[in-house]
């Protein structure tokens, strides 16, 4: 059994794992409240994604720098307070997207400071053996993956549910599924995209494996 090609693919895809192979929302199942509720429009998704990146990258770097010196008890306190301070400083960044957006998002802005994805990454990179480059790469890629998942779900919900994209009416849609604006539609869409991503991920790995280990003609006929 040859697995060189698969290993090579894994080494290569490690750099993008956070964005696709280990997507924060769709594969890892973290930060789900935002994907479920805050994706009712593309603007909301963009605002949450910007704030997510603004807090994740510096907090993960902080965890990498001081995590090994912090007692396990105090680590989440430091990370959450630091990310909340960053969040409050960065909230004005979303105002150009749409005035009053921070009021629309309500509690979904402050709870970004305690999202599960942040703590998972911080815990991972506060270990003494973690590599510095991957702390930065993963923080950036997790943010990209989060934005990608949020954008995907928000596009479908806003387009089919409201008939608009980024607030602009999209012509040619003869019906509206207004129920997509509710939280349950967020759960269902997250489930469907999660299944699709898992299927694609498994298929890619299977193709790499099969490339190195082609079926014997007898096996082919047996199939």
């Amino acid at each position: 059994m040859k697995l060189e090609s698969l290993r090579k693919h894994r080494r290569f895809s490690r750099w993008f794992a956070g964005a696709f192979g280990m997507n924060t929302v769709l594969i890892a199942g973290l930060a789900l409240p935002f994907a479920v509720v805050a994706t009712s429009s593309l603007k909301n998704a963009a605002a949450i994604s910007i704030l997510f990146a603004c807090i994740t990258i510096p907090t993960v770097l902080l965890a990498f720098l001081i995590g090994k010196y912090l007692p396990k008890l105090l680590a989440p306190v430091v990370y959450s307070l630091f990310s909340m301070a960053l969040l409050l400083a960065c909230t004005p960044l979303i105002n150009p997207i749409s005035p009053g957006l921070s009021n629309t998002l309500g509690i979904y802005i402050p709870i970004l400071a305690v999202n599960s994805s942040l703590f998972v990454l911080c815990e991972q990179y506060s270990a003494p053996c973690s590599r510095p480059i991957f702390a930065l790469v993963d923080a950036v890629m997790y943010s990209v993956g989060f934005a990608f998942a949020m954008g995907l779900i928000a596009c479908i919900r806003e387009w089919l549910g409201n008939g608009t994209l980024w607030g602009v009416a999209v012509p040619g849609l003869p019906f509206k599924l207004a129920g997509l604006q509710f939280a349950f539609a967020g759960f269902i869409l997250a489930a469907v995209f999660s299944a699709f991503f898992r299927f694609v991920k498994r298929t890619i790995i299977w193709l790499y494996y099969r490339h190195d280990n082609p079926l014997h003609p007898k096996q082919k006929t047996a199939r």
């Binding site: 199942g29 409240p33 301070a85 509710f182 939280a183 299944a195």
Partner: protein
Amino acid sequence: MEHITLFLSIILAAIVMQNAFIMRGLGANKNTLLISSPRRIFLYGAVLTTVCSLSALISWPINYFFLRGPQLEERLSLRYLVTLGCICLVYLLLWYLTWEKAPRLHYHLRELYASATFNCAVLGSLLLAFSENYNLLHTFGFAFGSGVGYTLAILLIYEGRRRIVLSEVPRAFRGLPIILLYTGILSMAIYGLIGHQLPT
């Protein structure tokens, strides 16, 4: 009598109609969705409810006396920071108290403290209660109800998961996707139960 009725109705609303998990997705993540035993779910829920209720009691006076009034917009950021600070304080207090006074309990709970405390459901429920301008008792009731509602929601999902395991689920949907789908259908059912009507 009227106060008691209102208090109980706020608790009931927090458990069913405004369930943090099912109606707002708060605290939804793979680790909590896939907790593998009811005992662990109860322990997790107990820690979360305790933290939520105690944090409500501590942070309400600060919010009431210092962070309300006409300039609320400017003070909103301070409210977020203060509420999170109170949650951190309760986390440290609980950790210390159980470590000092009840080491056996601490042994069982030590792994759950951080994930139950730094959970979107705790901060989200408190901020929701403050935005409704409840008094101290009602804020406590809402926080307590949110914790209980969250625990019940996870138990319901655990039970659903146990039954789904016996079915033939398509491979891509096994694990997280089918649980999310189940939660979505549950959420839709509760929307219907409380009288929401989808626009036609």
